[in-house]
Symmetry: C2
Subunit: 224 residues, 2 copies
């Protein structure tokens, strides 16, 4: 029944953005749990970090930092993986690259707090994700890691905050995942309707362009 409704949605909804659909690298992006063990080429990894570097930030403070570990450096990799919660390790341990993002909480000059620090790390991480997707790679960001332990184990100074652990690699078939993760991996992606998210001029005044029949992700992508 759910599936039937979904397909009904598709036929009606795709019109809405047919003319200018969201970019394929946005629509195809998925927080996969099905990583291949294939290593990430250093040039691609470099390019992904370079993309992060060119994100915008408040007063161009660039509050983002990245601790990178690949399986070619087992000690570094195991140190980052050791911070990940057990239920995420099941799939994250296959990813060939782990990256911890951190935010500088203060202005470069003085101790004044930068209230955009986490927001701007988000901007940079989205750039990384976009670049990775454009190179055929997949990214899965996790809040599920021990941030306090990260601070100690990785020597993160007090004016920085560990933000997210990113698993990066090529995608693989979901066949190797345990049943309960395979189901999640293959489930359609879901989002709130735009009418819940966007408003005309003031709060909760429904956005005139946000019709409820918004695009269904199934219409323009495959499962990966």
């Amino acid at each position: 029944m759910i599936i039937k409704n979904e397909h009904e949605d598709i036929s009606e909804s795709v019109n809405v953005v047919r003319e200018y659909p969201p970019h394929p690298h946005i629509i195809r992006r998925k927080s996969t749990r099905a990583f291949s063990e294939k290593p990430v080429e250093p040039e691609k990894l470099r390019s992904i970090l370079e993309a992060a570097r060119w994100a915008p930030s408040s007063s161009n403070m660039q509050p983002w930092r990245f601790i990178v570990a690949t399986k070619e450096q087992p000690e570094n990799y195991e140190r980052l993986l050791g911070l990940v919660v057990e239920q995420n390790k099941i799939w994250a341990a296959k990813a060939p690259v782990l990256i911890l993002t951190a935010a500088k909480l203060t202005h470069d000059a003085g101790e004044r707090p930068n209230k955009f620090a986490l927001h701007d790390v988000g901007l940079a991480s989205a750039n990384m994700t976009f670049q990775a997707t454009s190179l055929g790679l997949a990214v899965h960001q996790m809040g599920g890691f021990n941030a306090e332990e990260a601070r100690t184990v990785l020597n993160i100074p007090k004016d920085f905050e560990p933000v997210a652990m990113i698993a990066l690699g090529y995608g693989d078939t979901a066949d190797f995942l345990p049943q309960y993760l395979r189901e999640r991996e293959l489930a359609p992606r879901a989002r709130k309707n735009l009418s819940e998210l966007a408003f005309d001029g003031v709060w909760e005044n429904p956005w005139s362009l946000a019709q409820d029949r918004t695009i269904n992700i199934k219409t323009i992508t495959t499962n990966n």
Copy 2:
């Protein structure tokens, strides 16, 4: 002299990412101050918000909200513009669309804080920016607006936080800007070196792939 050094940098640095340069929509993106008054097509605007909608978020909470105003709705537009600091109004007032982003600070169920709220709004705003760039539009995010007044004037509830004001529109020549803004508009974009931003395995252990001669934005883009 600065220009000379810059050009020296170019010839040496472009090798580093020649094979996989950052995506043009990341490199060409710029927080322009030179907006055209040309309206943004509703289909494009819809597509930009749709791109935000498909960003990833912690536990898929989608903490992002958007208050949108175009010049076709002058009362809404003036209300948002009225929140912008004077020095930004000079250029922002030409942009045909303003969007205020807001973050839901708590989990959907209960009052528990969502510590990723601002970060995830950043992810969504980067998706918007990327989509806008892919459609030939420019985005300029601002912290320079009165957040407390925004809360009152726009009826933003206490569990949400106004985050950033976004000016959106087509780019224009910098000729119409006052001299001091034109200079900023035409200045090369600058970023920290990757060696300051990325580390191998632990804090401040220089990333093996982050050579100091990183890509210079001038090499693969024009001034817009």
